[in-house]
Symmetry: C2
Subunit: 375 residues, 2 copies
């Protein structure tokens, strides 16, 4: 398969795989796509440094990328205590009561958990950028830095370009995409309503060609949101995208090891395998901004009468950080807190990444052949 982006990145397929799992990211790059490691889970620069070193050792010299969450506006910084004081006690009480009612065990020793919070903050994101750039200079494998929240800051774009790293940014609307291009972004990731995590209201079928028409002459567009098969990849290329950006698809990869495990698939994977395309909701409860999540008893609780309105970012992150930690250490597939797109309905087996990619490519080729026969 060949598009402008396969040439630019020296990859076999224009498949950009976003995942918080280094095992999955490395496997995607080894199999001919471009694995993009989500960095928000790393609170310390040293952790990320070690994982990038591991990525280097496990990718046979193939290119890969990092995804670092840099909010467009620098969020209110401050110590944990400052931010904590901005969270209404009723919100805390609701979270606590809900977890207890859902039977989610408390964490051992009730330690404070910052997981998934600090990564959203400006200074931490900047330390991630520094570490990634160091690795880009050292090994030359990091070829892409992506940002899910607005255009990256100008100096991040500059330093990335100086280190031969392309910059990508997610967009859910035309004005976002135009702003990215103006800011110097190299690749626009058009993420439709059906995607997992943060999304806008416009669906992929509408958004992808709209952004291609808006910026495609200067800037390649990656299609995100709703890609979980080779047919959807063919649809993406038909609609003018130069490749696909996939996240949910990898969550049931055999290499995905994050979260609680009993025997067999992890708790989260069990929940994903059971879900249909109708089992997601788009809510502000995960981060303060609308994000598509797996529908579970946890999201239901926030939809129930009497539940509080979610707080703005980053307070909502902070509010639910401990809850997410409690939930992810528990072992109940009915209560998980997990971003997932509507393609979750297609995830029906635990499959190695190499096979996942082979299936995409084979189905893509079939779809293109089928189209050819109609004209």
């Amino acid at each position: 398969m060949r598009t402008e982006l396969t040439d630019r990145f020296g990859i076999d397929y224009p498949i950009f795989g976003f995942t918080p799992s280094e095992d999955v990211a490395a496997a995607i790059s080894r199999a001919g796509g471009l694995g993009v490691l989500g960095c928000v889970r790393f609170n310390e620069a040293e952790e990320l440094d070690a994982v990038l070193e591991w990525m280097h050792e496990n990718t046979d010299g193939k290119p890969f990328g990092v995804d670092i969450v840099m909010p467009a506006k620098i969020p209110t910084e401050g110590s944990q205590v400052d931010l904590d004081s901005m969270i209404p006690p009723e919100h805390r009480a609701f979270v606590e009561r809900t977890l207890d009612e859902l039977g989610v065990p408390k964490l051992a020793g009730e330690e404070r958990v910052n997981a998934g919070v600090l990564g959203w903050l400006h200074s931490v994101a900047r330390s991630h950028v520094d570490v990634a750039m160091e690795h880009a200079r050292k090994y030359g494998q990091i070829k892409l830095i992506a940002n899910a929240l607005g255009s990256p800051p100008a100096d991040v774009i500059d330093v990335s370009h100086r280190n031969g790293v392309a910059v990508a940014a997610l967009a859910g609307a035309k004005d976002h995409a135009l702003h990215h291009v103006e800011a110097g972004v190299d690749i626009v990731i058009a993420q439709g309503y059906e995607g997992g995590g943060h999304t806008g209201e416009v669906t992929s079928m509408i958004l992808w060609p709209e952004l291609v028409d808006a910026v495609g002459d200067s800037t390649p567009v990656l299609a995100a949101g709703g890609v979980g098969s080779g047919r959807q990849m063919a649809a993406a290329i038909a609609l003018g995208a130069q490749g696909v950006w996939m996240g949910t698809y990898w969550l049931t990869a055999a290499e995905y090891k994050l979260g609680a495990h009993g025997d067999g698939p992890s708790t989260i994977q069990q929940a994903l395998l059971a879900a249909t395309s109708r089992d997601t909701v788009r809510r502000r409860i995960y981060s303060g901004k609308p994000a598509r999540l797996l529908k579970t008893k946890w999201t239901d609780a926030w939809d129930a009468p009497g539940a509080p309105e979610p707080l703005p970012m980053p307070l909502q992150n902070l509010l639910v950080a401990q809850a997410h930690a409690r939930i992810s250490q528990a072992d109940d597939p009915g209560v998980v807190a997990m971003p997932a797109g509507q393609i979750v309905g297609r995830l029906n087996a635990i499959t190695p990444v190499e096979e996942l990619i082979a299936e995409l490519v084979s189905e893509y080729n079939d779809a293109v052949a089928r189209l050819g026969k109609t004209v």
Copy 2:
């Protein structure tokens, strides 16, 4: 262009064009697609009969279809007065107050308006079926009957088949599609979240291949919701559909004459030309079931604090029937009540149907050629 459905219907392109306008429907059939006349606006069988006669005279013998709204469950029938008594007075007061605040003139003589209501009722829908079947027997041009709400009743399917008329039904979820096929429906129309009018939560990118996988071996699937260009048509075929079902696309056709007119485009067309892909909302206010509408001051009023919850179907239809009549006789593009899909963002000119179809086909061919070059 050729798919199973072009062969079956003897049409040049697998483009099924749904429209309440006989002028547009006839033009679609003349141009090589299959025009499908929406019948809900006809309160009397005689009106429909006359329009079908006109269609016969203006389609050069080409096939066309009818869309008759037959709710899956037979709704509560009764006189206007019976149903009227089920509408809470606060709802009536809200509608009246809102229209006055929005400056929508009252109707001359304050006559009772049933427009758009009776067509939803069982007995009226059945009289539409009878008229359509009579025309199918007489001229042999009516080749399709479609239903937007559930599976058509068994006897309607039977009489259609006896008259050589294929039966299509809209589905927004897999279980709906399976139910249709079990009921004997010949074509499933998979309508995604982004479509105009009644839609489910699952988007076209996800829904189309899901329904193709569920029923495609026995029953062709038409892709609906989000098709407004040849690239989107190519995406539909890539995803496994046998053709496309388009509604919103024809609303700015030059032949579309419904609604108030000043100079140039009609009031509704002015509103459509101005809208972007983000200017639709999915609400229960049009019919009692979730339907995607153009976002206007009218939909905003129902979203404002203090607005009542919409009533169930058919009470909501009845509640807003007079309002819709008032609005459509007024001449304010800022206050229209109009189903429209997210592709409304692509409607930027008044264009004759023949050109609209030529553009679809030409862009489709380009997209297929582009795909071919990637492998």
